[in-house]
């Protein structure tokens, strides 16, 4: 752990490992959301937001 990370851990309480949101993660998410939306485009399912939230959770955990 770098000094800066140590300081972060100490001062800001941030965890040791930082989670980076890369363009690849974002692209994958967008792609999967679009697939989900396409599959459900004409299906009146109120739980799409929950499904997307779950999808986001699988990307950052």
């Amino acid at each position: 752990m770098s000094k800066e990370q140590e300081e972060n851990v100490k001062e800001k309480g941030l965890p040791e490992e930082s989670i980076e949101i890369t363009d690849e993660i974002t692209r994958d998410l967008v792609k999967e959301i679009l697939e989900l939306e396409r599959d459900n485009l004409y299906v009146n399912r109120a739980n799409l937001k929950e499904q997307i939230a779950t999808l986001v959770k699988t990307k950052v955990r």
Binding site: V9, K10, E11, G13, L14, P15, S18, I19, I21, I25, T26, R27, L29, V30, I33, L34, L36, E37, R38, L41, Y42, V43, L48, K49, E50, I52, A53, L55, V56, K57, K59, V60, R61
Partner: protein
């Protein structure tokens, strides 16, 4: 979607089973259905809608069952109306059947959505989700662009309907997916934000701040403890020093006592010694002369003994002794002494030979004296020897004590130098008080430190928990951040895609419009308005538009939409553009509001509108030009023959149409009212 066949079964005015073959070929892609007003053109248009979605936009839409069938239906009895649609989509054949059981309730058609049955077979197999399947093939949102009333299509070209243009673009091109995705993603973001709120309650103090406070306090107390321990150690050292000093004083006192003791002892020894000297003097004075005359007395004793042994000195003992032996009758040797015996006689002779008693006593007294003198000499010497021994002992003690006293005095002198004992004691007491205070403080500090350490341990656990919590917080925040980034990305794509599609469609619209109406241009502007312009002095300017021009622009838009969807579908982009696909265009009265010129122009273009075009036309719209323009592309041609029991009405509406030299009655008198689909071609 390629329409193949429609079967109407007791549906509205279509009595019995009526079939319309809709299948077209690439070159002959047009189906024309002729019918006068009220014959059922719009009903067929709405039959598509009812079959696909269960709804239709017709007057008295509750009356689905054919009137003749219903009128024959006894009260409380039911009968079915049905529409079957056969079509192909992406190389799969779909057979959709929707029917409804209509009951005669007090002469009125009664049915509920539950009375409807809806079934889809795909390649001969019934599928589980008919509604979703229909939506995927042709959603309700899209339907209005392909199944429409031509007389009202011009409305699309009006600015207030720009939203329809925009929606059409978005829905057909699947851009709506992005729109919905963004909407749902924003909602998901809110869910995640709410989750974040639940992780850390508002106003909660960070345990790190608490830890910092504790560590700070702990450090302070540790310093205090250290300082006080050091102070205590210093005080203890100081006390030891004072005690040492005090010890010296105490030793002085003890030396003093010892000195006194020694002095007393010395005095006692000296007194004893003096007594011994006195005793010696007395002994010598009383008994020393005997010791001096001891030799003379010895010589006298020897002289007297010699006399006595010679018998020259009477012995009172012998006379008495002899008499005692005679009296007792036994000699000291055990010989019996009996009167008259020799022994007794001999003893009696001895008695006669004894000296006088006074002489003997004198001798005895002298002997006693000489013996006594001899004993006195012996005693004197012994006593004197003892005295000398005692004197020697005492002298040794005196000498020792004197030396000790001397040492004590020297030591005392040395020790007496320095502070006084009282001061030292006070000082030591003060130090002891300080030490006591420091001990209390140290104890207190230790207690406080233990308390703080305990609190620190607790806060460490809280920090661990907080770190875990923080991890969750960070994850939650990152999830929200990811949502936001995805939203930005999707919005960006959405905007780019929308503009790309709009521009592409605009180009197509312009091309189609100019083909139909040369000299004028149409485009889809940034506000998704169909804009008709004309070149004036080298620049394109908006011009006032006629209904015909608006209708042409609208058809051009629909045509462009259909063709772009087809292009992208054929280009394998259906995964990207969900609306990409092949769509038919089903138009009721497409030439209704057009003047002759525009009608002719449009009729030239109808076959290009879509891969499959179904048009419903009345005889008034079916001009020679229109017929000539469409003829080469017609695959099927039907007439809707209206059967009418009312003779007067029949006479009034009696019309016919001649197709390929054959005349067909469009209105026929019959026993009851219904429409018959008559195939012409």
């Amino acid at each position: 979607m390629k329409l193949k066949k429609m079967i109407l079964h007791n549906f509205r005015q279509f009595y019995g089973k009526q079939e319309i073959d809709l299948e077209t070929s690439k070159d002959s892609n047009v189906v024309v259905i002729h019918g006068e007003n009220g014959s059922g053109k719009t009903t067929i248009l709405e039959a598509f809608s009812w079959c696909l979605y269960g709804k239709m936009d017709l007057a008295q839409s509750q009356n689905i069952l054919n009137e003749k069938i219903f009128n024959d239906l006894p009260q409380g009895m039911s009968s079915d109306a049905k529409v079957v649609l056969l079509f192909e989509d992406r190389h799969k054949e779909y057979l959709i059947t929707r029917s409804v059981q209509v009951k005669n309730v007090a002469g009125k058609q009664y049915h509920t959505p539950q009375d409807q049955t809806f079934e889809i077979m795909r390649d001969g197999i019934v599928i589980d989700s008919p509604k979703t399947t229909v939506d995927k093939i042709l959603s309700k949102e899209l339907k209005k662009y392909f199944f429409f009333d031509g007389e009202r299509i011009d409305k699309l070209a009006k600015p207030e309907n720009a939203k329809d243009i925009e929606d059409g673009i978005k829905n057909i091109m699947g851009i709506a997916v992005y729109e919905k995705g963004i909407k749902h993603l924003k909602e998901a973001k809110k869910i995640l934000a709410d989750e974040l709120k639940n992780i850390i309650p508002e106003g909660e103090v960070s345990p790190y701040e608490e830890e910092d406070e504790i560590i700070k306090e702990l450090d302070e107390y540790k310093i205090k403890l250290k300082n006080n321990i050091k102070r205590k150690e210093d005080k203890i050292a100081e006390k030891e020093k004072v005690s040492e000093e005090l010890k010296s004083v105490e030793e002085l006192e003890r030396d003093e006592k010892l000195k006194i003791e020694k002095e007393n002892a010395l005095e006692e020894y000296n007194t004893s010694y003096q007594k011994l000297i006195e005793k010696e003097k007395s002994l010598i004075s009383k008994e020393a002369y005997l010791a001096i005359s001891s030799d003379l007395i010895f010589e006298m004793n020897n002289f007297l003994e010699e006399k006595r042994e010679k018998g020259e000195l009477p012995s009172g003992i012998r006379e008495q002794f002899i008499q005692d032996l005679i009296d007792r009758g036994t000699c000291i040797c055990g010989t019996s002494l009996v009167e008259g015996d020799v022994h007794v006689d001999h003893l009696k002779n001895l008695l006669h030979k004894t000296v006088k008693k006074s002489v003997e006593d004198g001798f005895l007294r002298l002997s006693a004296f000489t013996d006594k003198v001899s004993n006195v000499e012996k005693s004197f010497k012994e006593k004197l020897t003892e005295l000398y021994g005692q004197k020697d002992t005492l002298l040794g003690k005196i000498e020792k004590v004197t030396a000790e006293l001397s040492d004590i005095k020297t030591e005392m002198k040395k020790k007496a130098e320095g502070s006084s004992s009282a001061e030292l004691i006070a000082k030591r007491e003060s130090i002891e008080e300080t030490i006591e205070e420091l001990t209390e403080k140290i104890g207190s500090y230790k207690g406080k430190i233990e308390e703080l350490q305990s609190a620190h341990e607790a806060i460490k656990r809280a920090i661990e928990q907080h770190q875990t919590q923080n991890r969750q917080v960070q994850i939650a925040e990152k999830r929200i951040e990811l949502c936001q980034q995805a939203i930005y990305q999707m919005e960006d794509i959405y905007e780019q895609l929308t503009n790309k599609v709009r521009e592409k469609l605009s180009d197509k619209v312009s091309k189609v419009f100019t083909t139909i109406i040369p000299g004028k241009h149409a485009k889809i502007n940034h506000n998704f308005e169909l804009e008709i312009t004309k070149e004036v002095n080298g620049s394109m300017k908006k011009t006032p538009t006629s209904t015909g021009e608006n209708q042409v622009a609208s058809l051009a838009f629909i045509s462009s939409l259909v063709n772009l969807a087809k292009e992208w579908d054929e280009g394998g982009n259906s995964n990207v553009f969900t609306g990409a696909g092949t769509y038919p265009v089903v138009m009721d009265s497409p030439f209704g509001a057009l003047d002759d010129t525009n009608r002719d122009l449009i009729s030239k273009y109808v076959q290009s509108l879509a891969p499959q075009v179904i048009v419903f036309v009345s005889t008034s719209q079916w001009s020679k030009e229109v017929e000539n323009n469409l003829k080469p592309y017609i695959q099927h041609e039907y007439i809707l023959q209206y059967h009418n029991p009312n003779q007067e009405k029949f006479k009034a509406s009696q019309k016919s149409i001649t197709i390929d030299g054959i005349t067909y009655d469009l209105s026929v008198q019959d026993d009851y009212e219904f429409t018959k689909v008559v195939k012409v071609k």
